[in-house]
């Protein structure tokens, strides 16, 4: 059976401000989708709504995973169901080592029925797997002993998100600007790593402003978000066009969505 993540007519508000206004998107396992769009168009909101951020209220529509109602699940239940997001700005958890964090996370995701307090996956087994994955991603094993995202550089945070993706092996992953804030070498490394771990092995929704990531992970579908809606969907060539020429054509073609995007940006500036 092919897993399907299906988003239908999704409306999401933050506070009483509508951000997403009817998003439709179906991702099959193994597909790579690029999600592009100017700043403030609602791309990260879609990711956070998929994960169930308590500050993002779904006011209409549905999200289902293989037919199961995702909106009915707590964020940790979504993770255990196989949905993952690599955060644009991951949170630091001081005092908690990456290895301990990942061991607990990996156990919970692999054993969705695990109750609080039950055994974690054996230390030896976990350490070996973590070490292998880190070597594969060309990461220093010392990294596992550091506190989660605490004092990490921008690049280290993104690498840590990719490591989590590799360990948790979700069915679907939203990668929210996993290539931003990195130098050219780091972007290439991140792109290769993601291609290696995720391309064709998961359903990927890649939010990006750069072309490198998509070069290594060529999308079957490119979606353009503007003013909280997906205004256009194309193939790989649409992503290439937007990289080359920017969003002028899109803004002109969808004046209503563009006006809403400007409104949302202005409100964001006030906040």
């Amino acid at each position: 059976m092919t897993h399907v993540l299906k988003i239908e007519d999704l409306h999401v508000s933050v506070g009483d401000k509508p951000i997403l206004r009817g998003v439709n998107l179906t991702i099959n396992h193994g597909e790579t989708h690029a999600l592009m769009g100017p700043n403030g168009s609602g791309k990260s909101t879609l990711g956070l709504a998929i994960m169930g951020h308590p500050g993002y209220e779904v006011t209409g529509g549905s999200i289902t995973l293989d037919g199961a109602d995702v909106l009915d699940m707590e964020p940790d239940e979504r993770a255990r169901a196989g949905i993952f997001m690599a955060f644009q700005r991951p949170m630091a958890i001081p005092g908690v080592k990456m290895a301990d964090f990942l061991r607990h996370a990996t156990t919970n995701v692999r054993r969705p029925d695990r109750k609080e307090g039950e055994e974690l996956i054996p230390m030896r087994e976990f350490r070996k797997e973590l070490k292998d994955k880190m070597e594969h991603l060309r990461m220093d094993v010392e990294f596992a002993r550091r506190y989660v995202n605490d004092g990490f550089s921008g690049g280290e945070m993104k690498r840590a998100e990719i490591l989590q993706l590799a360990m948790l092996q979700p069915k679907f992953a939203v990668l929210d600007e996993t290539d931003s804030g990195l130098d050219a070498d780091a972007v290439r490394l991140a792109s290769e790593s993601i291609a290696d771990i995720g391309h064709q092995k998961m359903g990927l929704l890649i939010i990006t402003h750069h072309d490198k990531l998509l070069e290594h992970n060529p999308p079957q579908f490119t979606h353009v978000m503007l003013g909280g809606r997906l205004v256009e969907t194309g193939g790989k060539e649409l992503a290439e066009e937007l990289h080359r020429h920017g969003y002028d054509r899109i803004r002109k073609a969808y004046p209503e969505a563009e006006a809403r995007n400007q409104e949302m940006l202005a409100e964001e500036a006030i906040v």
Partner: protein, 436 residues
Amino acid sequence: MSSSTVHAFDEAGFEALLDHVAEPDWLVALRREAFEHASKMDWPHRRHEEWIRTDIRTFQLNKYGLPNFAGAEALPNSPHQLVEGVELGGRIETVDSGVVTHSLSQELADKGVVFGPLSEIANSHPDLVRPHLFTAFDPDHDKFAALHAAFMSGGQFLYVPRGVTITQPLHIGSIMTDGGTDTTHTLVVVEEGAEATVLHESNSLDPNAGGLHLGSIELIQKPGSHLRFVSLQEWGHKAYHFAQQKAVIDRDCTLQWTIAAMGSMLSKVNQTVDLVGPGADSQVNGVMFTEGRQHLAYHTQQHHRAPSCHSDFLYKSAQQDKSRTVWRGMIKVDPIAQKTDGYQRNDNLVLSPAARADSIPGLEIEADDVRCTHGSTTSKVDEEQIFYARCRGFTQKEATRMIVTGFFQQIFDRITIESVREALGAAIARQVREYE
């Protein structure tokens, strides 16, 4: 209490205690002076800076009897945790300030180490006790201190001779029964170049037990000596805990003093390190974790009385329910104490809207060539941290527990004794619950 006569904190009780302990004249004289002072002293005034945040109007001394100086019986199950898996060099256990057991390994006794009940050793080794007793502790500090000095019982004394290194920790355990009284006085003297580790813990048998602790710890370090002192306070949550705890450390000494304050209904503790010889180096680590309506007030001081000393201080406190902690810290640098390097920091994690953390750092610097820094932070558990962890499969409760444990990790990283790390971790884990 099980004894037939319950003595009160009055003259008759005082005389009965003196009769029983049979201490040398010089010590009796110290007690008499303290008793006289205590009788004349008022309870601390609410407007006194040290008491302005700590309300003791509901405290009534006459609700408590004197400690069990006539002798107590050992309890079948010791609640102590720091000893788990540790090979000890010796131990003393008291119940309501009555010594129930004490021991010291032959090897340490042969090296001249003295460890046992304070009253006994004051008789057998007055030359070791008399020059040090009450040199760090000030019986005139307030009425609680004076009462402690007059009525102390079941005290413990450790003497580590010159150049002797004790690798096996010594354990001092005080247990208080529900409604009981503990007035133990801990005196540790570490001679030149000597080295020791002491694990000190205070427990009630029941986490909801009441009682009264009027206590003191004195740590005296001679030049070039090294001491690790761990103090875990887990009195019952209806108990009062009044204590003065002070170390005086001389030239080129190192002191690592770790405090965990989890218990009591109300604590008012003064913890001081005096650095009196050049090159002395102290590290103070503190963990406070409160719940219910607990009120824990710690007034700390790093007093630089000699040049070129280093003092490092870190307290981490988390508060839940309607509990409150007070930390008031001071780095005091005397005019002579040039080249002082002093650091103090208190971090707070407030876990519920009705909990409160008062954090008041202070510097009093009279030398001009010093480096002193201080900091204080107060934060809540960040909802974004919780969400992030939940996106990785952690439940709300698991995420909170992890974040709170992580908050204290910085202290754990500084503790080199595994049993202490484990006991602290367990104590914290017992107290963490779900927050909404």
